[in-house]
């Protein structure tokens, strides 16, 4: 029967069809972090309700936790109180917490897959919009609000209307030096930040199949920047190999049985999507954002737009405002623009392969004297693995700070911020006005571009890109 990956998983989770086309869906995994969960648990307890399934509920600390070496909680009194409160709440309610002292703390969207909590076919939620990340393993995963979170805590279910489906195929092979980050930024540039609103996206095609799981996580992570709550990739042998041996993943015969089920999840050949888009992956070059929305993105050596050539008055005004905020001139090129900061981290790009990509660019070189550059690994496990390979030493020798895991400068909730008027090349996911700190100027890019820019002290192309351009 014709069915998409999304439809198959959705249908397996329907407990009851409610009036108005709303489905009551079972939540297999509820992940929590301290920024949103402390208040949700308080609301739950204020109602006199209990956690329906503590064994399917998992918490970590990522948003307000300090990233300074040797940290145990927050950098300030209020953040330490938030962390202490979540520790007490999870203890009292028998919710498993991945914390600093057990060596499993990390950004919630990094540790979910890493611990084998994120599995193909699950329905996973978290009160965080980048929950779409987990769809990379073939799950339905989406961000929810605080009231919905209380609903999940109290009932282990969520009420949802079925979204429309969109398949995006990346056909052809990407060029060397092009990362998953470039692929998804390119797509956001093509569709705009509401191009995926109302849709669950399935990414498919040759260039997607070729991606290792960590790169798929990066790609799905930015689905919400297309407006799509859900982005997913059909599980395949690459996925199954990644899952094997992880803490919470099934093992032995149970894994074999699970894989047999997971193989059935892929969209059927005759599956019908509400919308289909094909992207020629061979055309994608390293991307960087110039403005204050992820759709303000260009190839790294292209010119920023000139608002005068935009016919729509509302859009023209928004381009003007963005250029003014970013202190850029219409039509200028971005490469050569001096920078103050580089941030390599976040749920988008803080996994081992991201750090390897950046380290490869950095090795044997030094960060420009006027640049402050940070690497914030996504989890304690990522940090441990990177140190085992000596990546920490490469970064430290080059003049980077090597910090403890957390969301850090992606969102600045813990106080890790880019200063007013400072220009930062960041591997994170949002370049909104003030996102990295009031008055901060953010350019989103891949770990390779961020690393090259740290060394150059300006927005920099990758070695070899210039020749590639001439040859193209």
């Amino acid at each position: 029967m014709a069915k998409t990956l999304f439809d198959k998983i959705w249908d397996q989770h329907v407990i009851e069809e409610l009036p108005g086309g709303v489905s009551l869906l079972h939540v297999d995994r509820h992940l929590m972090h301290e920024l949103t969960s402390v208040a949700a648990i308080r609301q739950l307890e204020a109602r006199g309700a209990k956690v329906h399934d503590p064994s399917l509920t998992f918490a970590t600390l990522d948003h307000v936790i300090s990233t300074r070496p040797g940290r145990t909680a927050g950098d300030e009194a209020w953040s330490t109180i938030a962390i202490k409160t979540l520790r007490e709440q999870t203890g009292r309610l028998s919710i498993t917490r991945f914390d600093v002292d057990d060596g499993r703390q990390g950004i919630v969207h990094v540790i979910g897959p890493e611990l084998g909590l994120t599995l193909p076919g699950v329905l996973l939620v978290c009160a965080d919009s980048h929950t779409c990340t987990h769809g990379a393993l073939g799950a339905i995963a989406f961000g929810i609000g605080s009231t919905e979170q209380v609903h999940v805590l109290a009932t282990q279910t969520i009420r949802q209307k079925r979204p429309k489906t969109l398949r995006v195929r990346f056909e052809g092979a990407t060029r060397p030096g092009v990362e998953a980050k470039d692929m998804i930024l390119y797509l956001i540039g093509a569709l705009g930040t509401s191009g995926g609103t109302g849709y669950a996206i399935e990414y498919a095609g040759q260039a997607i199949r070729a991606l290792p799981v960590e790169a798929r996580l990066t790609l799905c992570n930015l689905s919400i920047e297309l407006g799509a709550k859900i982005g997913m990739i059909a599980p395949d042998d690459v996925t199954f190999a990644y899952i094997e041996g992880r803490d919470y993943a099934p093992a032995g015969a149970a894994l074999d049985k699970a894989i047999a089920q997971w193989r059935e999840l892929a969209s059927t050949d005759d599956a019908v999507f509400d919308k289909e888009i094909t992207i020629d992956a061979t055309l994608i070059r390293p991307q960087i954002t110039w403005g204050t929305s992820p759709e303000h993105v260009i190839a790294i050596d292209a010119q920023v737009p000139d608002p005068l050539s935009e016919p729509d008055p509302v859009r023209r005004e928004s381009l003007k405002t963005a250029l003014a905020y970013m202190q850029l001139t219409p039509g200028q090129r971005l490469d050569q623009t001096p920078i103050d900061r580089v941030f390599i981290g976040s749920c988008t790009n803080s996994r081992l392969s991201d750090l390897r990509n950046a380290a490869q660019v950095v090795k044997g070189r030094h960060v420009a004297a006027h640049v402050t550059a940070w690497v914030v690994p996504g989890s304690i496990e990522v940090k441990r693995d990177a140190e085992r390979e000596g990546l920490d030493q490469i970064f430290l020798d080059a003049g980077f700070e090597w910090r403890e895991p957390g969301c850090s400068m992606c969102v600045g909730a813990n106080g890790d911020m880019v200063g007013p008027g400072e220009r930062c090349v960041s591997t994170s996911n949002r370049n909104f006005v003030g996102r990295q700190g009031p008055g901060a100027l953010t350019h989103l890019a891949s770990p390779r571009v961020a690393a090259a820019s740290a060394i150059a002290g300006r927005i920099a192309m990758l070695a070899g890109e210039e020749e590639a351009e001439v040859g193209a």
Binding site: G145, R430, V433
Partner: protein
């Protein structure tokens, strides 16, 4: 949940696309403040200058719009972060209804959880409402009849799903409703644990 039936009040046009939830309330506030404390911090980056003084050029600092109960905006309002505090900040500021061309999916759902009415209209209709709004005329939004009225323009009808309308009109608490279905939830889990044992963590 707070019920919504009719809202008659000042409407502030914020005619831009992509007003994100970071813009509506900053992360420092959601990390450090609780429900009931957000009103001074709604749109803080636009409302205040670096020295903390109000920026008079921002519409929500100008009379009569500082008492606005309705916002008019462009496409993709509430995109970005899932923070429900964005809805709380609007609601605590006094906003009861946002009329935009489109909304971020998570923000839209969060509105419905808090009795804040999100209405989708096309750009031309919103422009037509912005004209009387800008001269301080009051708009009347009636969810019972799904209509918007403003002086000098024809009544505008808007689409809103029946089930959602009913829930908002009555202020229905979905958590209580779902808790009543617990027997169904437990039965689902019992069956599901047989077909998908790997979902149910034994530890």
């Amino acid at each position: 949940m707070k019920a919504f039936t009719v809202c008659e009040g000042i409407a502030a046009p914020l005619m831009r696309d992509n007003i994100d939830t970071d813009m509506i309330v900053r992360v420092e506030r959601i990390a450090q403040l609780g429900r009931g404390q957000f009103a001074p911090w709604a749109f803080e980056m636009a409302r205040y200058q670096a020295d903390g003084a109000e920026d008079r050029s921002f519409i929500l600092n100008q009379p009569p719009f500082r008492d606005a109960q309705i916002l008019l905006s462009g496409a993709n309002f509430g995109c970005g972060s899932s923070r429900e505090m964005a809805v709380w900040a609007l609601e605590e500021f006094g906003i009861r209804c946002v009329i935009a061309q489109s909304f971020g999916d998570i923000f839209y759902a969060n509105c419905l959880q808090n009795g804040l009415l999100p209405i989708r209209l096309d750009g031309a209709q919103i422009e037509s409402l912005a004209k009387p709004a800008l001269i301080g005329e009051r708009l009347r939004v009636d969810l019972r009849t799904r209509t918007i009225q403003a002086p000098g323009i024809d009544q505008i009808a808007f689409d809103f799903p029946d089930d959602r309308r009913e829930a908002l009109l009555e202020g229905i608490d979905e958590i209580d409703q779902t808790m009543k279905l617990n027997a169904r939830i437990l039965a689902f889990q019992r069956n599901d644990a047989v077909t998908r044992p790997w979902v149910y963590v034994q530890r």
